[in-house]
């Protein structure tokens, strides 16, 4: 059967171009073996990073006052997650917009979360089964007005500034905070036993792979950030490019990270949205380089192509040079 004719064919495109034998499959096979040897060597010599994940249990044992202050903040609505906004709830604390452009608000609440209930009151309700004192404290807390709750929470937050942690023994001098002392003391006990890690993962289903609640709570505290700072992972340390230990991170995100270091981005309240939009614009430009005059001409202005095809140009010049022909 005769092969159908092409509208564009390589034969006419390459007419007059010198060719050389080429074995594509062999080249890929050799490259794979070489890279395999390199990668096996790196894996054997350098291993890979794996710092264990933090737990609520570890947090409450190592930094109990930070833990209590965070939990109190969840009740007060002063933590990052409790005031965040979409997609967790209708708050506005972390809503980023650019003029009328507000995709975070437009997307709305899809992962509903009430931090006070999810992180403190819900777990305490479970823990109060068989604990009459805690049950009474929770009932007392639930029965009062929101204003009274705010007063108790504020007093307890003030009390925490005078708290002492002596070899893991936490003492909070409570004064005018109602049942808060008993409630938060119980929460700390549950957390230190590891129970809160489990309670933050409970749901109406048996299987669970969603860590949103637990991670948001952990992220609200100061402990996680302190550990990240020790590993040089925070933003002003170019954290995204680093890994725990002496390993490379996501170095390909260097440009994404760069904007966070530069004004006006680094002082903007909507920095994340600005950076994402900037990177979206730059990615679109990269995609459309072939069609953008100026951008598509850069390779001609910066003649790296002369290095790329150096041998080819040398060959071309030799071929064009006058040759003394024998008579």
């Amino acid at each position: 059967m005769s092969r159908p004719r092409r509208r564009w064919d390589q034969a006419s495109y390459y007419r007059g171009v010198p060719t050389a034998p080429y074995d594509l499959v062999k080249e890929v096979a050799i490259a794979t073996v070489v890279i395999l040897v390199v990668v096996l060597g790196l894996a054997a010599l350098l291993s890979s990073p794996d710092v264990p994940s933090l737990t609520i249990k570890g947090w409450s044992q190592k930094e109990p006052i930070d833990f209590l202050a965070t939990a109190t903040g969840e009740l007060q609505g002063t933590t990052l997650s409790s005031s965040y906004g979409p997609p967790y709830h209708a708050g506005t604390g972390s809503v980023q917009t650019l003029g009328p452009f507000a995709p975070q608000l437009w997307a709305g609440v899809h992962l509903p979360l009430t931090s006070a209930q999810a992180d403190v009151l819900g777990p305490l309700a479970v823990a109060s089964v068989g604990d009459r004192a805690l049950g009474q404290a929770l009932a007392q807390f639930a029965a009062v007005s929101p204003e009274q709750k705010s007063v108790w929470e504020a007093h307890y937050a003030r009390d925490l500034t005078r708290a002492r942690d002596i070899r893991g023994q936490v003492t909070v001098p409570v004064d005018g905070s109602g049942p808060m002392g008993l409630m938060m003391g119980s929460l700390l006990t549950v957390a230190r036993s590891g129970g809160l890690d489990a309670l933050l993962m409970t749901s109406r289903r048996f299987y669970q792979t969603d860590y949103t609640r637990a991670l948001l709570f952990l992220g609200d505290g100061g402990y996680l950030k302190q550990v990240a700072t020790d590993f040089h992972l925070v933003g002003n340390q170019w954290g995204v490019l680093n890994e725990t230990g002496r390993y490379p991170g996501q170095a390909w995100l260097w440009l994404f990270q760069l904007w966070y270091q530069l004004p006006p981005y680094n002082t903007a309240s909507n920095v994340d949205l600005l950076v994402v939009l900037t990177m979206g614009l730059l990615s679109t430009l990269l995609l459309l380089v072939p069609f953008i005059p100026g951008l598509r001409d850069i390779p001609r202005w910066i003649p790296i192509y002369r290095l790329i095809w150096r041998e080819h140009y040398q060959f071309s010049q030799l071929a064009e040079a006058p040759v003394d022909r024998p008579e």
Partner: protein
Amino acid sequence: MTTSAESGPTPDREPANHSQPNPSRSWTLRLRNYVLRELPPEHLLPESEPAYLGSWVYVFGVVTIAALILVIGSGVVLAFFGPQWWQVSPQGHFVNSVHFWSVQMFFIFMVLHLWGQFFAASWRDGRAATWMIGVVVFLVSVVTAFTGYLSQQNFDSQWIALNAKDAVNSTGAGAFFDVLNFGQMYGLHILLFPLLLTMLVVLHIVWVRRRGVVKPIELRHPS
């Protein structure tokens, strides 16, 4: 033997000719013709190429594919044994290390390939689609690697997830792409994104083979 022509058959008694399908009606034949027309076997697997392909810059693309083969191979082993295996088994940790360094190699050589092709202006002579598919491959690779970092189940995953959520949420994408949801990120990382990435890489390679590698800039043919 009496032929049908000799016996003068009526049209409804004429046997169907199965060996000669009508090219304009057969979808299969049209697809085969299209594939053969656009990508004849000698272009897909050539035994010779223009001599200027001897440049070192063309090695980067091949090495990127080699690294991707190792990324997928080590990833298949990790996926088979489950997300916790590499943290509780020395063998699993080694396979994870192979996966980790393969990813690093993949990105190093992909970026070198990208810049090499940029400075070669490889989109010339009708190759814009090849360039664009390559850029999409890079962007999908970044997202695929990102979901991999979120699937490690270690401190790095926790920190990256908590920081990344603000950027994702600010665009509204957090409503359906929850970086704190391990199950969602793991599923995307081991199935959908690798599948998409592999398809795009295959498409990129097919497009390169289809048109051939672009000629050098300001090429002057030896006459």
